[in-house]
Symmetry: C2
Subunit: 117 residues, 2 copies
Amino acid sequence: MTEDHLDATFASLADPTRRAILARLAQGEATVNELAEPFEMSLPAISRHLKVLERAGLISRGREAQWRPCRLEAGPLKDIANWVERYRRFWDASFDRMADYLKELQTPKGDQDDRKN
Amino acid sequence: MTEDHLDATFASLADPTRRAILARLAQGEATVNELAEPFEMSLPAISRHLKVLERAGLISRGREAQWRPCRLEAGPLKDIANWVERYRRFWDASFDRMADYLKELQTPKGDQDDRKN
DNA sequence: GCGGTAGTTAACAAATATGTTAATTAACAA
DNA sequence: TTGTTAATTAACATATTTGTTAACTACCGC
């Protein structure tokens, strides 16, 4: 779970086509053509999206005759979940309480009291 | 929480400098110069990273004399957490149980039985 | 072998991202 | 007004991303 790995995972997830592919794979293995079917996009384009996902470790691929079934690999998603959890307190607390919390924590150096911009 | 918004949020988080900036802001507001200090990077570069974060809604900026204090805004992080939670079962279960689960769910059309590639 | 299906790779074009230095805007301070 | 500090914008270079079409590889079935 190096920083570098997070880079690749977040970058992979930034594309809606790739997120849709993951959603499809959450329902079970699929071949490249099956994955490509819902999209108005050439097969090579899908193939490259799959390569991006594979490099990020989000999918793995088997070999079965001329098919290469893709499978979801959730490890990197767990890393994302762990990363984002560290910020949970920022959306769990109401904003005003949060602002107070920050003030305390910061030992304010000026009296910066502006709120929403 | 449109798809589009997820795109921007994931893309923002794909850069280690920007994640570091968010980590810093988790400790409280900071000015642009304060945020730039740890990085061997020009101020304009940091300024652009902040613009990316702002467009994704991950930070907001106030005005205080000639300073523009930045503040963490966690809303989009909550969206990320919600998105990734849908995959939790894929890393909670052991892989072998998961494979079985997928088989059931899929009503297999061939006998694709390959495991790790 | 020959043809068909599945998928990847090559070559290219266009858009986006990320950094630089130099110039500019804005506010304070004297 | 002049100078200083804080930050952004402009102009530019370079790399990466994302898509296209065309060519290629691999396997199956006859």
